[in-house]
Each structure stands twice: as structure tokens, then as C-alpha cells.
Amino acid sequence: MKELLVAEWERLWKRKVAWLTFLLVPVVLLAASSYLQKENGALTVDLPQYTFAGNFPVLSLAEMLFTVFNAMFLVFITLVVTGEYRSGQLRMVMIRSYSFKEIILAKAAVILLFNLLFFITYFCMSYVIGFLMFEHPQTYFVFYHSHAFNIKEALVYNLSFYGYAYLTTIAICCVLFFISVISKTTTTAVGIGVAFILISFSYPTLLTGFKQWMSEELFGQLFFTSVPMIQWQGITVMMAEKPQFVGWNFGVLGFYVLFFSGLTYVAIRKKESFL
């Protein structure tokens, strides 16, 4: 199993895309910072949306989490699962005495590790770019908190925000893994993945039209059944001074993880692995 993990890890890093993704981190952050600087022009300093060096990691992640991050997982999971399977690259691994389940598990572990590395890089780079591009006062305000945060508190806040964000990406990864395993070609896999993300965006927006007929509680719960919406707003709500929807959001994430990894398990048991 250890050799399998190492082999997967090496095959992942053999791709130029993997290196390119990490080189893209500063570019993405610079794009986010120029956007947020433009936003700053229209805001006053006491608002939580106003970007400082201290909250730039959180604001830039919130900006990019459901676009760049989800797109990245889509690319890598499809490349590693459907791409390798369909191009026949996986044959060399499958002629050894590993079961298909072990191979998929190794792939999942490697992707999650890669994901973790990406999050750490993004976090460090965002602090660097934040201090270069924005002013850094002693204290500033954070969403749904009445008192101002200093740099040390902010660091803890940012770290836990990234922790929650990582958890949501695990749920996304589980869904995308299932899609990649069942898809016959790579474009189908990407297409269904994009459709999943688009649907997860659009039904909560549709739901806002019916907001007046339901209670605040129920609306929030239905709204946060979609993982991208948890990524977009749920995390800040969960980390408010009076946290809301914490249990619900964790329940939803847990459901996504368990349900879709269960489906993947069923799918790979039925899958013929002769190439």
C-alpha cells in the first residue's frame, strides 16, 4: 500500500499541470488583490468587507474557493481517475496485485494530500501578498463579530477558516471522485462535474425567490444543503460570534462524504477493470 501511494504521488507530480497549479497561486492572489483593492475604494474602513493584510487570506479565499479551487479539483480528479483509466496508463498499476479499491483509495489519499499542500501554499502566499499590497492596522473588524480583532486573534480566525474550507473541499472531492469513476470519457466527467457545481449554485439562488413563504431557519437549512453555498457564506456564518448552522453544515458535509464515497464503493465493486 505504501509503494502504491508513493507511485501515485510520483505520477501526480510528473504532470506539468501540477507544477503549473502551484505557480498559478501568486497569479490568482494578485488578481484577487487587485479586485479587492478596487472594492476597497467603495467601502469605509469600519466595514468587515474592507480588506487589510490581516483579513486578505480569508477574503481572497472566499473569492476563489468556489471557482479556482473547485475547478482545480475537477481537473486533477478527472485527470488522475478517468484520464489514467481511459488512456491505459493505469494498466501498469493494475497488473500488480492491488485491488481496484486500493488503487482508488490511494488516489483519494494522494489528492487530499495534494489539496492540503495547495491550501498551505495558498495560506502562506496570501499572507505575503496581503502584507505587500494592503495596509496593516493594529485591529480591524471581522464578519458577524462586534469587537475588533488584532493580528494574533486574526491568525487563529484565518487558520480555522482555512480548516473549515478544507473540510468542504473534502466533500466536493468525494462527489467528483464518484463522477470520475462512473464516467466513460474525460469530457463527460468534466461536463457532469461542471453541471453539479452549476446546479449547486443555481438552486439556492432559485430558492431565494420563495424566501417569503418559509421561516428563516428552514431557508438557511435548505440554502446550506449545497456545498458551494457553505463555501461561499456558510463558513463565515459558522464562525460568527453566535455561530449558526454549525451542526447542520457539518451534517450536510458528512452526508456528502458518506453518501458519495458509498456510491463510489458500489461503483468500483461493479466495475470491470480489464483494459
Binding site: 499541470v17 481537473v75 469530457t187 468534466v190 461542471v194
Partner: protein
Amino acid sequence: MTGLFISELERTFKRKKTAAVLAVYAGLLAFIWFFFQRGGISFFDADHDVKIDSLNSAPLLLRDLSFAITFIVIPMFVADSFNGEYTSGALRMVLIRPHHRVKLFFVKWAVQCLLVFIILCITWLVGTCLGRMVMPHVNETTFLGGQTLGTVGALLYSLKFYGICFCIFIAVISIGSILSVLMPNSILSYVATIGALIGSVYVSDKLSFFFSVTDSVFHELSRPNSEFLVNLLFPILLISLIINLFVWKKKEWVG
């Protein structure tokens, strides 16, 4: 040329995906229509809502479906046709014949445009005919910008609307085909196409029509004399076609 065209069409429909995507699109059409009838309200853009009636239902129907077309249907078809066939080797049999490369490109491009054209025709027919039959009957309707149009005017408006949308979709196809030829595999060409569409919003506000297709078309049609087509869309189309030809000819086709 006709033979090439037929062969391209056959190859396109040999992929089950093409038929499946069209079927899913039809399902989506029915689903959105169901919502139309129940809700009775749609939006020109995020700030302007409107009551659906028998005359404005065709443009409003496309508004809800344009996302699926730009982000799922077109990138998938283009990535499959321009990249998938080449990387999987299906194009080899075509490449060994003595055809001009440029012809091959135009055939592929024409087939993609044809597919989008069929999709738009179906959407327009459904929107117009069902709108006439089912939606509350009116003699005149108001579009964004306060234009009040009668039956014929609204029909012309919807045709103009679909025409501009078709031009935007052709531009998306052309940009997608450049990226598909440049990228090493179909996953990356798919994602690069979507990335280019979303990234265009960050480049300039004027380019946001790639992302929110119909909203910007409504805005364009609400202005009395817009030069959007002549100044922006056609140049983009032309330049992307030239780049396409250049890239397509320069590529080393080694199957």
C-alpha cells in the same frame, strides 16, 4: 467538402454523448418550462423582473438555458471535436487523406455551429409556440428599456435576440477551439474554455457578455443605437478565427 462534412457529422453523432447531451437539454427545456408556467415571473437581469406573457417568453426561456449552453454543451462538444478526436486517434483516418487542413477546420467549426443552431432553433420554437398557446395572451409587451412592441415587433425582437446570442455562441466555439487545439488533453481544454469565459469578466466589463450572455444582450437591445456587434463581437469573432487558422495550420499533426 460534402463528404468531409457528412463524415464529421457521423463522427459527432457516433459519440453517445452528443445524443445524450441533446436529450438532457430537451429535459432541461421541459423542466424550465414547467417553472415558467408555475412561477409566471422571470428576469431581464438581476435587477429587472418581468411577468412572462405570450410575446416575451422565447427570449426569457433562453435566458435560463444559456448557462447550460455556454458552460456545458459548447465546451463539451468543442473539446470532444477539436481535442478528443485528435488525442484519442479517431482523427487519424481523416488526417491520412489528402485534404486541406483549413477545410478540416472549417468542417469541424461548421458542425459545431450547426449543433448550436439546432439547439437554438428548438428553444426558439418551443418558446414561441408554447408561449402563444399557454401563456397569458397579450397584444403588446414591454422589454427592458421600456420598449413596447406589438405581435410582429416582439417576434422580430426575439429573432434579433436569438441572432445575437447565436453570434456570441459562435465566438465561444471559436475561442474554445483555439484552446482545444493548444491544450494537450481534453480535460484541460474543457476547463481552459470555461476559465477563459469566466476570466473575461476580470479583463474588462465590456467582455462580460461571455459570462452572462443573455443579460448583456437584453441591455444591448434596450439601447437605441448600439455598436456592440460591429465594434466588439465581430472583431472578436474574426480575430479568433484567424488565430484558429494559424494554430490549426502550425500544429504538428502526428496523430
